[in-house]
Amino acid sequence: MSAKLFALLVSSLADTLFMVGVSSAIAFVFGLPLGVILLVTERGQILESPVVNRLLGSIVNATRSTPFIILMVLLIPVTRMIVGTSIGTVAAIVPLAIAATPFVGRVVEGALREVDDGVVEAALAMGASPWQVIAKVLLPEALPAIVIGLTLSVINLIGYSAMAGAIGGGGLGDLAIRYGYQRFRLDVMFLTVAVLIALVHLCQGLGDLVARKLRHDGRS
Protein backbone atom coordinates (compact mmCIF):
# COMPACT_ATOMS: atom_id res chain seq x y z
CA MET A 1 0.00 0.00 0.00
CA SER A 2 1.36 3.37 -0.94
CA ALA A 3 2.10 5.97 1.68
CA LYS A 4 -0.37 8.29 -0.02
CA LEU A 5 -3.16 5.76 0.19
CA PHE A 6 -2.32 5.04 3.81
CA ALA A 7 -2.48 8.73 4.66
CA LEU A 8 -5.82 8.94 2.85
CA LEU A 9 -7.12 5.99 4.84
CA VAL A 10 -6.02 7.49 8.14
CA SER A 11 -7.56 10.87 7.39
CA SER A 12 -10.79 9.19 6.21
CA LEU A 13 -10.90 7.16 9.42
CA ALA A 14 -10.37 10.33 11.42
CA ASP A 15 -13.22 11.97 9.50
CA THR A 16 -15.51 9.02 10.22
CA LEU A 17 -14.60 9.00 13.90
CA PHE A 18 -15.23 12.74 14.05
CA MET A 19 -18.62 12.49 12.33
CA VAL A 20 -19.74 9.50 14.37
CA GLY A 21 -18.35 10.88 17.60
CA VAL A 22 -19.99 14.29 17.35
CA SER A 23 -23.29 13.05 15.99
CA SER A 24 -23.41 10.31 18.66
CA ALA A 25 -22.82 12.87 21.37
CA ILE A 26 -25.60 15.09 20.02
CA ALA A 27 -27.95 12.12 19.59
CA PHE A 28 -27.29 10.98 23.18
CA VAL A 29 -27.86 14.43 24.60
CA PHE A 30 -31.25 14.74 22.90
CA GLY A 31 -32.15 11.05 22.66
CA LEU A 32 -31.78 10.28 26.36
CA PRO A 33 -34.39 12.79 27.58
CA LEU A 34 -36.53 11.91 24.56
CA GLY A 35 -36.52 8.27 25.60
CA VAL A 36 -37.30 9.16 29.20
CA ILE A 37 -40.21 11.38 28.12
CA LEU A 38 -41.52 8.69 25.75
CA LEU A 39 -41.66 6.23 28.64
CA VAL A 40 -42.87 8.32 31.55
CA THR A 41 -45.68 9.98 29.60
CA GLU A 42 -47.13 6.64 28.61
CA ARG A 43 -50.45 5.47 30.06
CA GLY A 44 -50.12 4.31 33.64
CA GLN A 45 -46.61 5.75 33.98
CA ILE A 46 -45.42 8.31 36.49
CA LEU A 47 -46.04 11.38 34.31
CA GLU A 48 -48.85 10.04 32.16
CA SER A 49 -49.65 12.44 29.31
CA PRO A 50 -51.25 10.86 26.23
CA VAL A 51 -50.99 14.06 24.15
CA VAL A 52 -47.24 14.50 24.64
CA ASN A 53 -46.67 10.80 24.20
CA ARG A 54 -48.61 10.55 20.94
CA LEU A 55 -47.05 13.72 19.52
CA LEU A 56 -43.45 12.71 20.25
CA GLY A 57 -44.17 9.13 19.24
CA SER A 58 -45.38 10.12 15.80
CA ILE A 59 -42.45 12.48 15.19
CA VAL A 60 -40.05 9.72 16.18
CA ASN A 61 -41.82 7.20 13.97
CA ALA A 62 -41.87 9.55 10.99
CA THR A 63 -38.14 10.25 11.28
CA ARG A 64 -37.29 6.61 11.76
CA SER A 65 -39.35 5.37 8.85
CA THR A 66 -37.66 7.74 6.39
CA PRO A 67 -34.66 6.00 4.76
CA PHE A 68 -31.48 7.76 5.83
CA ILE A 69 -30.36 8.56 2.31
CA ILE A 70 -33.70 10.33 1.66
CA LEU A 71 -33.58 12.07 5.03
CA MET A 72 -30.12 13.35 4.22
CA VAL A 73 -31.32 14.91 0.97
CA LEU A 74 -34.46 16.31 2.59
CA LEU A 75 -32.40 17.92 5.32
CA ILE A 76 -30.01 19.73 2.95
CA PRO A 77 -31.70 23.14 3.51
CA VAL A 78 -31.58 22.65 7.27
CA THR A 79 -27.94 21.64 7.11
CA ARG A 80 -27.14 24.71 5.00
CA MET A 81 -28.90 26.87 7.53
CA ILE A 82 -26.95 25.44 10.46
CA VAL A 83 -23.51 24.77 9.01
CA GLY A 84 -23.50 27.06 6.00
CA THR A 85 -22.83 24.25 3.54
CA SER A 86 -24.33 20.88 2.76
CA ILE A 87 -21.08 19.22 1.71
CA GLY A 88 -18.30 17.88 3.89
CA THR A 89 -17.73 16.19 7.20
CA VAL A 90 -19.20 18.87 9.42
CA ALA A 91 -22.29 19.15 7.22
CA ALA A 92 -22.83 15.39 7.47
CA ILE A 93 -23.15 15.64 11.23
CA VAL A 94 -26.52 17.40 10.97
CA PRO A 95 -28.48 14.62 9.24
CA LEU A 96 -26.58 11.96 11.20
CA ALA A 97 -27.52 13.48 14.54
CA ILE A 98 -31.11 14.10 13.47
CA ALA A 99 -31.51 10.53 12.25
CA ALA A 100 -29.88 9.01 15.33
CA THR A 101 -31.76 11.00 17.98
CA PRO A 102 -35.13 9.23 17.60
CA PHE A 103 -33.30 5.92 17.38
CA VAL A 104 -31.53 6.60 20.68
CA GLY A 105 -34.87 7.75 22.09
CA ARG A 106 -36.53 4.43 21.28
CA VAL A 107 -33.53 2.48 22.52
CA VAL A 108 -33.56 4.34 25.85
CA GLU A 109 -37.33 3.97 26.12
CA GLY A 110 -36.96 0.22 25.62
CA ALA A 111 -34.21 -0.01 28.22
CA LEU A 112 -36.27 1.88 30.79
CA ARG A 113 -39.28 -0.29 30.07
CA GLU A 114 -37.29 -3.30 31.25
CA VAL A 115 -37.05 -1.85 34.77
CA ASP A 116 -39.37 -3.81 37.04
CA ASP A 117 -42.61 -1.95 37.78
CA GLY A 118 -42.37 -3.19 41.36
CA VAL A 119 -39.14 -1.25 41.92
CA VAL A 120 -40.79 1.93 40.69
CA GLU A 121 -43.78 1.21 42.91
CA ALA A 122 -41.46 0.74 45.89
CA ALA A 123 -39.85 4.11 45.20
CA LEU A 124 -43.26 5.80 44.93
CA ALA A 125 -44.26 4.17 48.21
CA MET A 126 -41.17 5.78 49.76
CA GLY A 127 -42.46 9.16 48.67
CA ALA A 128 -40.22 9.63 45.61
CA SER A 129 -41.17 12.42 43.21
CA PRO A 130 -41.39 11.58 39.49
CA TRP A 131 -38.03 13.24 38.97
CA GLN A 132 -36.49 11.18 41.79
CA VAL A 133 -37.95 8.01 40.28
CA ILE A 134 -36.25 8.86 36.98
CA ALA A 135 -32.91 9.91 38.46
CA LYS A 136 -32.58 7.41 41.31
CA VAL A 137 -34.40 4.36 40.00
CA LEU A 138 -35.21 4.25 36.29
CA LEU A 139 -31.94 5.53 34.80
CA PRO A 140 -29.52 3.78 37.20
CA GLU A 141 -31.39 0.48 37.01
CA ALA A 142 -31.58 0.62 33.21
CA LEU A 143 -27.97 1.76 32.74
CA PRO A 144 -26.55 -1.56 31.46
CA ALA A 145 -29.38 -1.85 28.93
CA ILE A 146 -28.92 1.81 27.97
CA VAL A 147 -25.21 1.18 27.32
CA ILE A 148 -26.06 -1.77 25.09
CA GLY A 149 -28.58 0.42 23.27
CA LEU A 150 -26.14 3.28 22.84
CA THR A 151 -23.58 0.86 21.43
CA LEU A 152 -26.16 -0.21 18.90
CA SER A 153 -26.79 3.45 18.05
CA VAL A 154 -23.09 4.17 17.52
CA ILE A 155 -22.75 1.16 15.26
CA ASN A 156 -25.78 2.33 13.32
CA LEU A 157 -24.16 5.73 12.98
CA ILE A 158 -20.98 4.17 11.60
CA GLY A 159 -23.14 2.62 8.90
CA TYR A 160 -25.02 5.87 8.25
CA SER A 161 -21.77 7.85 8.13
CA ALA A 162 -20.53 5.63 5.32
CA MET A 163 -23.74 6.47 3.47
CA ALA A 164 -23.09 10.14 4.04
CA GLY A 165 -20.04 9.65 1.85
CA ALA A 166 -22.42 9.21 -1.07
CA ILE A 167 -23.41 12.87 -0.94
CA GLY A 168 -19.90 14.12 -0.28
CA GLY A 169 -19.87 13.73 3.46
CA GLY A 170 -16.27 12.59 3.73
CA GLY A 171 -14.96 9.71 5.79
CA LEU A 172 -14.47 6.03 5.02
CA GLY A 173 -17.66 5.74 2.97
CA ASP A 174 -16.54 8.61 0.81
CA LEU A 175 -13.15 6.95 0.32
CA ALA A 176 -14.77 3.66 -0.65
CA ILE A 177 -17.01 5.32 -3.19
CA ARG A 178 -14.51 7.67 -4.78
CA TYR A 179 -11.52 5.35 -4.89
CA GLY A 180 -12.97 1.88 -4.57
CA TYR A 181 -16.04 2.28 -6.73
CA GLN A 182 -15.49 5.15 -9.13
CA ARG A 183 -11.79 4.36 -9.81
CA PHE A 184 -12.19 0.60 -9.64
CA ARG A 185 -9.67 0.33 -6.80
CA LEU A 186 -10.93 -2.93 -5.34
CA ASP A 187 -8.07 -3.02 -2.81
CA VAL A 188 -9.17 0.33 -1.39
CA MET A 189 -12.74 -0.92 -1.29
CA PHE A 190 -11.79 -4.02 0.69
CA LEU A 191 -9.46 -2.14 2.97
CA THR A 192 -12.15 0.36 3.82
CA VAL A 193 -14.66 -2.37 4.51
CA ALA A 194 -12.10 -4.14 6.71
CA VAL A 195 -11.52 -0.97 8.72
CA LEU A 196 -15.28 -0.49 9.12
CA ILE A 197 -15.71 -4.07 10.31
CA ALA A 198 -12.88 -3.63 12.83
CA LEU A 199 -14.45 -0.39 14.05
CA VAL A 200 -17.84 -2.00 14.57
CA HIS A 201 -16.27 -4.94 16.39
CA LEU A 202 -14.36 -2.62 18.65
CA CYS A 203 -17.49 -0.65 19.54
CA GLN A 204 -19.55 -3.75 20.22
CA GLY A 205 -16.82 -5.30 22.36
CA LEU A 206 -16.37 -2.13 24.34
CA GLY A 207 -20.12 -1.68 24.85
CA ASP A 208 -20.59 -5.28 25.98
CA LEU A 209 -17.69 -4.99 28.38
CA VAL A 210 -18.99 -1.81 29.99
CA ALA A 211 -22.52 -3.20 30.26
CA ARG A 212 -21.20 -6.38 31.88
CA LYS A 213 -19.24 -4.36 34.42
CA LEU A 214 -22.37 -2.37 35.24
CA ARG A 215 -24.65 -5.34 35.74
CA HIS A 216 -25.07 -6.76 39.21
CA ASP A 217 -28.11 -8.88 38.65
CA GLY A 218 -26.22 -12.13 38.40
CA ARG A 219 -26.65 -12.33 34.62
CA SER A 220 -23.05 -11.45 33.82
Binding site: G127, Q132, G218
Partner: protein
Protein backbone atom coordinates in the same frame (compact mmCIF):
# COMPACT_ATOMS: atom_id res chain seq x y z
CA UNK B 1 -50.22 5.26 64.54
CA UNK B 2 -53.68 3.99 63.91
CA UNK B 3 -54.98 3.36 60.41
CA UNK B 4 -58.61 3.98 59.66
CA UNK B 5 -60.29 3.07 56.38
CA UNK B 6 -63.82 4.21 55.78
CA UNK B 7 -66.08 3.19 52.94
CA UNK B 8 -63.21 2.32 50.62
CA UNK B 9 -64.47 1.44 47.16
CA UNK B 10 -62.25 0.88 44.16
CA UNK B 11 -63.60 0.44 40.67
CA UNK B 12 -61.24 -0.37 37.81
CA UNK B 13 -62.29 0.67 34.31
CA UNK B 14 -65.54 2.21 33.24
CA UNK B 15 -68.92 1.28 31.79
CA UNK B 16 -69.91 -2.34 31.31
CA UNK B 17 -66.33 -3.57 31.75
CA UNK B 18 -65.91 -1.85 35.11
CA UNK B 19 -64.66 -4.08 37.88
CA UNK B 20 -65.46 -3.45 41.51
CA UNK B 21 -62.31 -4.58 43.32
CA UNK B 22 -63.23 -3.13 46.71
CA UNK B 23 -66.76 -2.58 47.91
CA UNK B 24 -67.23 -0.40 50.96
CA UNK B 25 -64.35 -1.48 53.19
CA UNK B 26 -64.34 -0.21 56.78
CA UNK B 27 -61.31 -1.07 58.84
CA UNK B 28 -59.77 0.17 62.06
CA UNK B 29 -56.19 -0.80 62.81
CA UNK B 30 -55.41 0.20 66.41
CA UNK B 31 -52.04 1.79 67.09
CA UNK B 32 -49.25 -0.66 67.85
CA UNK B 33 -51.08 -3.77 66.68
CA UNK B 34 -50.46 -6.22 63.89
CA UNK B 35 -53.55 -6.43 61.74
CA UNK B 36 -53.87 -9.18 59.16
CA UNK B 37 -56.13 -9.19 56.15
CA UNK B 38 -56.64 -12.62 54.69
CA UNK B 39 -58.38 -13.71 51.54
CA UNK B 40 -57.92 -15.96 48.56
CA UNK B 41 -56.30 -14.55 45.43
CA UNK B 42 -58.48 -12.04 43.60
CA UNK B 43 -60.33 -11.10 46.78
CA UNK B 44 -58.96 -7.54 46.60
CA UNK B 45 -56.22 -7.76 49.23
CA UNK B 46 -53.45 -6.21 47.16
CA UNK B 47 -55.67 -3.38 45.98
CA UNK B 48 -56.71 -2.72 49.56
CA UNK B 49 -53.19 -2.44 50.96
CA UNK B 50 -52.24 -0.17 48.03
CA UNK B 51 -55.16 2.07 48.87
CA UNK B 52 -53.63 2.82 52.26
CA UNK B 53 -50.65 4.72 50.83
CA UNK B 54 -52.65 5.65 47.75
CA UNK B 55 -50.49 3.75 45.29
CA UNK B 56 -54.02 2.89 44.21
CA UNK B 57 -56.38 5.83 44.67
CA UNK B 58 -59.73 4.64 45.99
CA UNK B 59 -62.75 5.57 43.87
CA UNK B 60 -64.46 6.67 47.07
CA UNK B 61 -63.89 6.53 50.80
CA UNK B 62 -61.26 7.95 53.12
CA UNK B 63 -57.91 6.69 54.35
CA UNK B 64 -56.67 8.11 57.63
CA UNK B 65 -53.24 7.35 59.05
CA UNK B 66 -52.58 8.87 62.44
CA UNK B 67 -55.61 11.09 61.99
CA UNK B 68 -54.43 12.55 58.67
CA UNK B 69 -56.80 12.04 55.75
CA UNK B 70 -54.48 10.90 52.96
CA UNK B 71 -57.17 11.22 50.30
CA UNK B 72 -57.37 14.99 50.84
CA UNK B 73 -53.62 15.65 50.51
CA UNK B 74 -51.99 17.34 47.53
CA UNK B 75 -49.40 15.41 45.50
CA UNK B 76 -46.53 17.02 47.41
CA UNK B 77 -48.13 16.47 50.81
CA UNK B 78 -48.87 12.87 49.91
CA UNK B 79 -45.21 12.29 49.02
CA UNK B 80 -44.20 13.61 52.43
CA UNK B 81 -46.83 11.46 54.14
CA UNK B 82 -45.65 8.34 52.29
CA UNK B 83 -42.18 8.81 53.77
CA UNK B 84 -43.69 7.80 57.09
CA UNK B 85 -45.41 4.70 55.71
CA UNK B 86 -43.02 1.79 55.16
CA UNK B 87 -43.94 -0.95 52.71
CA UNK B 88 -42.60 -4.42 51.99
CA UNK B 89 -43.47 -6.56 48.99
CA UNK B 90 -43.83 -10.18 47.95
CA UNK B 91 -41.22 -9.75 45.22
CA UNK B 92 -38.97 -7.62 47.49
CA UNK B 93 -38.56 -4.92 44.80
CA UNK B 94 -34.92 -4.20 45.56
CA UNK B 95 -32.77 -2.21 43.17
CA UNK B 96 -30.49 -4.67 41.38
CA UNK B 97 -27.74 -2.13 40.84
CA UNK B 98 -27.51 -0.96 44.43
CA UNK B 99 -25.81 -2.88 47.18
CA UNK B 100 -27.63 -3.85 50.35
CA UNK B 101 -26.35 -0.62 51.87
CA UNK B 102 -27.49 1.40 48.86
CA UNK B 103 -30.94 -0.12 48.92
CA UNK B 104 -31.49 0.68 52.58
CA UNK B 105 -30.07 4.17 52.02
CA UNK B 106 -32.48 4.97 49.17
CA UNK B 107 -35.48 6.15 51.22
CA UNK B 108 -33.14 8.30 53.29
CA UNK B 109 -31.67 9.88 50.15
CA UNK B 110 -35.19 10.53 48.90
CA UNK B 111 -36.07 12.15 52.22
CA UNK B 112 -33.04 14.42 51.94
CA UNK B 113 -30.88 12.98 54.73
CA UNK B 114 -27.26 14.08 54.81
CA UNK B 115 -24.65 11.52 53.79
CA UNK B 116 -23.02 11.43 57.22
CA UNK B 117 -26.40 10.77 58.83
CA UNK B 118 -27.33 8.04 56.37
CA UNK B 119 -24.40 5.70 57.01
CA UNK B 120 -24.90 5.20 60.78
CA UNK B 121 -28.66 4.80 60.32
CA UNK B 122 -28.16 2.13 57.64
CA UNK B 123 -25.64 0.28 59.81
CA UNK B 124 -28.12 0.34 62.68
CA UNK B 125 -30.88 -1.10 60.46
CA UNK B 126 -28.65 -3.80 59.01
CA UNK B 127 -27.82 -4.78 62.55
CA UNK B 128 -31.53 -4.92 63.42
CA UNK B 129 -32.29 -7.31 60.55
CA UNK B 130 -29.06 -9.26 61.00
CA UNK B 131 -27.42 -8.44 57.68
CA UNK B 132 -24.39 -6.43 58.72
CA UNK B 133 -22.04 -8.83 56.90
CA UNK B 134 -23.96 -8.42 53.63
CA UNK B 135 -23.53 -4.64 53.61
CA UNK B 136 -21.69 -4.41 50.29
CA UNK B 137 -23.33 -7.31 48.50
CA UNK B 138 -25.78 -6.97 45.59
CA UNK B 139 -29.32 -8.37 45.88
CA UNK B 140 -28.67 -11.06 43.25
CA UNK B 141 -26.26 -12.70 45.71
CA UNK B 142 -28.85 -12.89 48.50
CA UNK B 143 -31.38 -15.60 49.36
CA UNK B 144 -35.09 -14.79 49.38
CA UNK B 145 -35.18 -14.40 53.14
CA UNK B 146 -32.17 -12.09 53.09
CA UNK B 147 -33.76 -10.00 50.34
CA UNK B 148 -36.88 -9.57 52.45
CA UNK B 149 -34.73 -8.55 55.40
CA UNK B 150 -33.23 -5.83 53.22
CA UNK B 151 -36.77 -4.88 52.23
CA UNK B 152 -37.74 -4.61 55.88
CA UNK B 153 -34.66 -2.57 56.77
CA UNK B 154 -35.42 -0.27 53.85
CA UNK B 155 -39.05 0.10 54.93
CA UNK B 156 -38.00 1.00 58.48
CA UNK B 157 -35.22 3.38 57.48
CA UNK B 158 -37.08 6.66 57.75
CA UNK B 159 -38.74 5.85 61.12
CA UNK B 160 -42.18 5.08 59.70
CA UNK B 161 -45.36 5.30 61.76
CA UNK B 162 -46.90 2.28 60.09
CA UNK B 163 -45.67 -0.65 58.04
CA UNK B 164 -47.61 -2.16 55.16
CA UNK B 165 -46.83 -5.69 54.11
CA UNK B 166 -48.01 -7.02 50.76
CA UNK B 167 -47.68 -10.82 50.94
CA UNK B 168 -44.17 -10.39 52.31
CA UNK B 169 -43.65 -14.07 53.03
CA UNK B 170 -45.54 -15.61 50.12
CA UNK B 171 -42.40 -16.16 48.05
CA UNK B 172 -40.49 -17.76 50.92
CA UNK B 173 -40.18 -21.31 52.17
CA UNK B 174 -41.82 -22.22 55.51
CA UNK B 175 -38.63 -21.93 57.58
CA UNK B 176 -37.68 -18.57 56.14
CA UNK B 177 -41.29 -17.42 56.51
CA UNK B 178 -41.04 -18.24 60.19
CA UNK B 179 -37.89 -16.19 60.67
CA UNK B 180 -39.30 -13.20 58.79
CA UNK B 181 -42.48 -13.36 60.88
CA UNK B 182 -40.40 -13.41 64.04
CA UNK B 183 -38.56 -10.35 62.80
CA UNK B 184 -41.85 -8.56 62.13
CA UNK B 185 -43.17 -9.45 65.55
CA UNK B 186 -39.94 -8.20 67.11
CA UNK B 187 -40.23 -4.91 65.29
CA UNK B 188 -43.83 -4.55 66.39
CA UNK B 189 -42.92 -5.16 70.00
CA UNK B 190 -39.65 -3.23 70.05
CA UNK B 191 -40.70 -0.19 68.07
CA UNK B 192 -44.41 -0.27 68.78
CA UNK B 193 -44.92 -0.08 65.04
CA UNK B 194 -48.44 -0.59 63.67
CA UNK B 195 -48.35 -3.27 60.97
CA UNK B 196 -51.04 -3.90 58.37
CA UNK B 197 -50.36 -7.03 56.41
CA UNK B 198 -52.17 -8.97 53.76
CA UNK B 199 -51.69 -12.64 53.14
CA UNK B 200 -53.39 -15.76 51.88
CA UNK B 201 -51.64 -17.90 54.48
CA UNK B 202 -53.60 -18.53 57.68
CA UNK B 203 -50.33 -19.45 59.28
CA UNK B 204 -49.09 -15.86 59.02
CA UNK B 205 -52.20 -14.58 60.79
CA UNK B 206 -51.92 -17.25 63.44
CA UNK B 207 -48.26 -16.52 64.16
CA UNK B 208 -48.17 -12.78 64.53
CA UNK B 209 -51.49 -10.99 64.15
CA UNK B 210 -53.58 -9.51 66.95
CA UNK B 211 -56.55 -8.83 64.73
CA UNK B 212 -57.75 -10.31 61.51
CA UNK B 213 -60.17 -9.35 58.77
CA UNK B 214 -61.39 -11.82 56.20
CA UNK B 215 -61.91 -10.33 52.76
CA UNK B 216 -63.95 -11.87 49.99
CA UNK B 217 -64.97 -10.35 46.65
CA UNK B 218 -63.90 -6.90 47.84
CA UNK B 219 -65.85 -6.98 51.10
CA UNK B 220 -64.81 -7.66 54.67
CA UNK B 221 -66.95 -10.62 55.71
CA UNK B 222 -65.63 -11.06 59.22
CA UNK B 223 -63.19 -9.34 61.53
CA UNK B 224 -62.09 -9.37 65.12
CA UNK B 225 -59.39 -10.56 67.47
CA UNK B 226 -57.54 -13.52 65.96
CA UNK B 227 -58.35 -15.83 68.85
CA UNK B 228 -62.07 -15.06 68.60
CA UNK B 229 -62.25 -15.45 64.86
CA UNK B 230 -60.21 -18.64 64.91
CA UNK B 231 -62.09 -20.33 67.72
CA UNK B 232 -65.51 -19.21 66.61
CA UNK B 233 -65.56 -18.46 62.87
CA UNK B 234 -68.98 -17.25 61.76
CA UNK B 235 -68.58 -17.12 58.01
CA UNK B 236 -68.24 -19.92 55.51
CA UNK B 237 -65.25 -18.16 53.88
CA UNK B 238 -63.47 -17.97 57.20
CA UNK B 239 -64.11 -21.65 57.88
CA UNK B 240 -62.76 -22.53 54.45
CA UNK B 241 -59.64 -20.48 55.03
CA UNK B 242 -59.31 -21.87 58.51
CA UNK B 243 -59.86 -25.45 57.40
CA UNK B 244 -56.22 -26.39 57.42
CA UNK B 245 -55.68 -24.75 60.80
CA UNK B 246 -58.71 -25.99 62.72
CA UNK B 247 -58.46 -29.28 60.92
CA UNK B 248 -61.63 -30.72 62.32
CA UNK B 249 -64.24 -31.74 59.82
CA UNK B 250 -66.64 -34.24 61.23
CA UNK B 251 -66.59 -37.37 59.12
CA UNK B 252 -69.84 -39.23 58.36
CA UNK B 253 -68.68 -42.22 60.36
CA UNK B 254 -66.39 -42.77 63.31
CA UNK B 255 -64.55 -46.02 63.03
CA UNK B 256 -67.37 -47.53 60.98
CA UNK B 257 -70.09 -46.23 63.29
CA UNK B 258 -72.81 -44.08 61.76
CA UNK B 259 -72.79 -40.50 62.92
CA UNK B 260 -76.11 -38.78 63.40
CA UNK B 261 -77.13 -35.23 64.14
CA UNK B 262 -80.32 -36.50 65.81
CA UNK B 263 -80.43 -38.15 69.24
CA UNK B 264 -80.19 -41.91 69.07
CA UNK B 265 -81.65 -44.12 71.76
CA UNK B 266 -78.89 -45.77 73.71
CA UNK B 267 -76.27 -44.09 71.57
CA UNK B 268 -73.22 -42.12 72.64
CA UNK B 269 -72.96 -38.37 72.73
CA UNK B 270 -70.41 -36.75 70.46
CA UNK B 271 -69.17 -33.45 71.78
CA UNK B 272 -66.75 -30.94 70.40
CA UNK B 273 -64.59 -28.98 72.79
CA UNK B 274 -62.68 -25.90 71.77
CA UNK B 275 -60.30 -24.46 74.27
CA UNK B 276 -57.50 -21.98 74.43
CA UNK B 277 -55.24 -20.40 76.97
CA UNK B 278 -54.65 -22.04 80.30
CA UNK B 279 -57.47 -24.56 79.96
CA UNK B 280 -55.44 -26.30 77.28
CA UNK B 281 -52.88 -27.22 79.89
CA UNK B 282 -55.38 -28.66 82.37
CA UNK B 283 -56.25 -32.34 82.46
CA UNK B 284 -59.92 -31.77 81.56
CA UNK B 285 -60.55 -35.25 80.21
CA UNK B 286 -59.10 -37.33 82.98
CA UNK B 287 -60.85 -35.07 85.47
CA UNK B 288 -64.13 -35.82 83.73
CA UNK B 289 -63.61 -39.55 83.86
CA UNK B 290 -62.66 -39.52 87.55
CA UNK B 291 -65.41 -37.25 88.77
CA UNK B 292 -68.40 -38.39 86.77
CA UNK B 293 -67.57 -41.99 85.99
CA UNK B 294 -68.18 -41.65 82.28
CA UNK B 295 -66.13 -43.09 79.42
CA UNK B 296 -64.43 -40.72 77.09
CA UNK B 297 -63.21 -41.70 73.68
CA UNK B 298 -61.18 -39.20 71.71
CA UNK B 299 -62.34 -39.26 68.10
CA UNK B 300 -60.29 -36.46 66.59
CA UNK B 301 -58.10 -33.82 68.11
CA UNK B 302 -56.05 -30.88 66.98
CA UNK B 303 -53.83 -28.77 69.14
CA UNK B 304 -51.99 -25.69 67.97
CA UNK B 305 -51.09 -22.22 69.08
CA UNK B 306 -52.06 -18.69 68.06
CA UNK B 307 -49.39 -16.14 68.90
CA UNK B 308 -48.00 -18.48 71.58
CA UNK B 309 -51.44 -19.11 73.08
CA UNK B 310 -52.23 -22.82 73.04
CA UNK B 311 -55.49 -23.58 71.31
CA UNK B 312 -57.17 -26.84 70.48
CA UNK B 313 -60.19 -28.68 69.24
CA UNK B 314 -61.20 -32.04 70.57
CA UNK B 315 -64.04 -34.26 69.44
CA UNK B 316 -64.91 -36.98 71.94
CA UNK B 317 -67.53 -39.64 72.35
CA UNK B 318 -69.13 -39.74 75.77
CA UNK B 319 -70.79 -42.90 77.01
CA UNK B 320 -72.25 -43.98 80.32
CA UNK B 321 -75.33 -43.45 82.39
CA UNK B 322 -77.52 -40.59 81.10
CA UNK B 323 -77.55 -38.77 84.47
CA UNK B 324 -73.80 -38.93 84.77
CA UNK B 325 -73.39 -37.76 81.21
CA UNK B 326 -75.60 -34.78 81.87
CA UNK B 327 -73.61 -34.00 85.01
CA UNK B 328 -70.42 -34.20 82.97
CA UNK B 329 -71.87 -31.82 80.36
CA UNK B 330 -72.88 -29.39 83.09
CA UNK B 331 -69.36 -29.51 84.41
CA UNK B 332 -67.88 -28.85 80.96
CA UNK B 333 -70.23 -25.93 80.34
CA UNK B 334 -68.97 -24.29 83.51
CA UNK B 335 -65.38 -24.45 82.33
CA UNK B 336 -63.69 -21.72 80.31
CA UNK B 337 -64.05 -23.48 77.02
CA UNK B 338 -66.48 -23.80 74.17
CA UNK B 339 -68.50 -27.00 74.34
CA UNK B 340 -70.95 -28.13 71.77
CA UNK B 341 -72.90 -31.37 71.43
CA UNK B 342 -72.40 -32.02 67.76
CA UNK B 343 -74.23 -35.32 67.42
CA UNK B 344 -74.62 -38.92 68.35
CA UNK B 345 -73.36 -42.28 67.29
CA UNK B 346 -75.72 -45.26 67.07
CA UNK B 347 -73.68 -47.71 69.05
CA UNK B 348 -71.67 -47.52 72.16
CA UNK B 349 -68.25 -46.22 71.20
CA UNK B 350 -66.74 -47.57 74.33
CA UNK B 351 -66.75 -51.23 75.16
CA UNK B 352 -69.80 -52.15 77.24
CA UNK B 353 -69.04 -52.69 80.85
Amino acid sequence: MAISLQGITKIFGQGPRALKALDGIDLEVPEGTIFGIIGSSGAGKSTLVRCVNLLERPTSGTVCVGGVDFTSLSEGELREARKKVGMIFQSFNLLARRTVFGNVALPLELAGWKKEEIAPRVEELLDLVGLTVKRDVYPSQLSGGQKQRVGIARALANHPDVLLSDEATSALDPMTTQSILELLRNINEKLGLTILLITHEMNVIKEICHNVAVIEKGRIVEQGAVLDVFTDPREETTRDLLGEIIGVDLPPTFGGLDFSREPVAGGDLVIQLRFFGNVAAEPVMSDLVRRFDVDVNILTAHIDHIRNVPYGTLVVGLSGDEARRQAALEHLRALDLKMEVVGYVRQALCPAR
